[in-house]
Symmetry: C3
Subunit: 264 residues, 3 copies
């Protein structure tokens, strides 16, 4: 699988990635999008969200600091994205922590065709909900169980699911990619998850096989995370080095370091 060629395509075609995202990591989402060569735009007003999606090549929704009115704007933009046929990525931040988050994530999934759903084990588990029960997934945590959860949600939503964890699982319900790149320092800073969704948004804007796009985004993102660790003294310098490494990522390095497996 030629991972790097997708990154190259992002750099050459500079897709516009429309975000409706949270107020915590909004800068980092924009900056990481720029860092891989795409163009970010953040626009949440309901008066313009659909129109902005209309000029974009992908749409990233992140419910990290959601309000009901922002979600309304997300849905409007999401419908426009569906109409245009550009990918919609949902970062299901905090689903399960409050009723609002769980309800609103489900409302988005009901009203918008989401192409890529990203979350950790807990978030994906909640969204897989009823379906998971039916399939007998009662406890979580092992890699095998996480694969089942991710497949479950992917099939129910006819979508790609990205379940992040020690090993990242990317599946459309049939094909399963497992990525084991990454570094523990990535967890020491706030926003890596959100930034990953932005990079997935950039990759999916140029590669129609969204499952492949998401898997390749993860490999590149995680390799940058590995490289950054070598030069850092802590989370402050780590974050800046991470940006540098992702910006400078070369084909050779990706090929040499990639840890990705596919099951079909």
């Amino acid at each position: 699988m030629d991972i790097y060629s997708i990154l190259e395509k992002v750099k050459s075609s500079k897709p516009l990635v429309h975000h409706i995202t949270n107020w915590v990591t909004i800068y980092d989402c924009a900056n990481i999008t720029r860092c891989v060569g795409a163009l970010p735009v953040m626009a949440h007003a309901i008066e313009e969200s659909s129109e902005m999606t209309g000029i974009a090549q992908s749409l990233v929704l992140n419910i990290g600091t959601l309000t009901p009115s922002i979600v309304e704007s997300m849905i409007k933009a999401g419908k426009k994205a569906n109409e245009k046929g550009i990918p919609v990525i949902l970062d299901a931040v905090g689903v399960g922590a409050t009723k609002l988050r769980t309800d609103k994530a489900n409302e988005i999934l009901d009203k918008v065709k989401v192409n890529i759903i990203k979350g950790n084990e807990g978030e994906i588990g909640i969204l897989a909900g009823a379906n998971a029960e039916v399939k007998g997934v009662e406890s979580m945590g092992s890699e095998g169980e996480n694969k089942e959860l991710a497949k479950c949600l992917a099939m129910a939503q006819k979508s790609t699911v990205v379940l992040t964890g020690k090993e990242d699982i990317i599946t459309n319900g049939e094909k399963i990619y497992t990525v084991s790149n990454g570094h523990e320092m990535m967890g020491s800073i706030v926003g890596t998850g959100c930034m990953l969704a932005s990079v997935i948004g950039a990759f999916a804007a140029v590669e129609k096989d969204y499952t492949k796009a998401a898997a390749c985004a993860l490999v590149c993102f995680d390799i940058a995370g590995e490289l950054a660790s070598g030069e850092s003294k802590g989370p402050g310098t780590y974050k800046e080095n991470f940006y540098d490494e992702l910006y400078n990522l070369s084909k050779d390095v990706v090929e040499k370091r990639k840890k990705i497996e596919v099951e079909e």
Copy 2:
């Protein structure tokens, strides 16, 4: 006083610190919380603020970019925190600059039992208001006067007051800690005050003596500020080094550098 043991307890118990904060430094508040080993969550929607506090171990309120509806959400979360018995920290940003800020800070203090109030001389002076007058504190500025102001507000609110300045004063109206660690470069970047409130929130989540928790948070925070100065060429690199130093802070360094005095 074993300052470092509180930081260790933060790292081992990883308390969840719920923030309802401003849009300027929200990322840094989250990131510094992570940096000391706690877990940040930022959630301001009134539909979930109380529920989110329900799963948290402390609540940090910051009125830096307040609106009336955000303050309503803060009060709802604050009442939940009071009910649960977890600490509420109020960072009184800009009190005195506009009527809205002064009124809303006072409204929060009326409706919520705030355990730790943080502000600079001007902000604490305004909040101490009438009480200060009664006690004859008519001019401000000297360390002695600041101690009186802080004690005044602490007694009126039955709360811990953190008055930041060249020397930081922490008091519950009886005991007074004075911390003289810190570095002038801390003032060269935006957000140090807000980040301090987050670190106090993390410390108060694991130490029930809130006055002690706040004082120890200040010592650790300010020592990191001193250490960062040695390696920095300006505010850009200083900030990253500050994160690194706080993240890597060791018991030995804290013991060797701490400048804290107690009066009872």
Copy 3:
């Protein structure tokens, strides 16, 4: 032209720069303001926006993540600034991308006397709109055409226009400054445009010739961008070095590196 003396005046008089800005780069706008020695305050609530402008020395409006209610607050603050006679800077982010942005930027220009309008070629082109047509500016892109566009808008609005690009054009419709400092890495990070508006806001707060103030702000800003490139491995370290370089900028370096031309 003594460029550095304006920066020195900012540092010595520490003007308060009130921002009503976007949620993406709000931290960087505040931090760069601090970096040149001014004091930032960000306050968008309609209940306090006018009062906050009342204690400020300049007002920076940025519509990057506008909503109708934020624009209402901007107009209220803008009127107060006009009443007080302090400069209003409008960063016309994304004008032309959606109807909301174009309409609201025009509404601000109708209701508030904006002293400095900043935008790229596309944004200034849209705002110059009808007037540009009258003057026969039908295609854009060359430096000569950009000068015409900028002059056109400046004359129509009786304002200073800053048109950023490979060469930056600053004009009040009569005098034209062209600044050719800067470095391509400035485009690799999000927020340079927004930060520039903040620095212009700080300079205009202390120099009544707003065209000159804006031109000098650009020279200083862009020279810092050049200096930062030497020490950076990518956009992460570049940004931190940029802050350092702007903070440490000396008179000698500005004099040696400035690339500014004036036509009258």
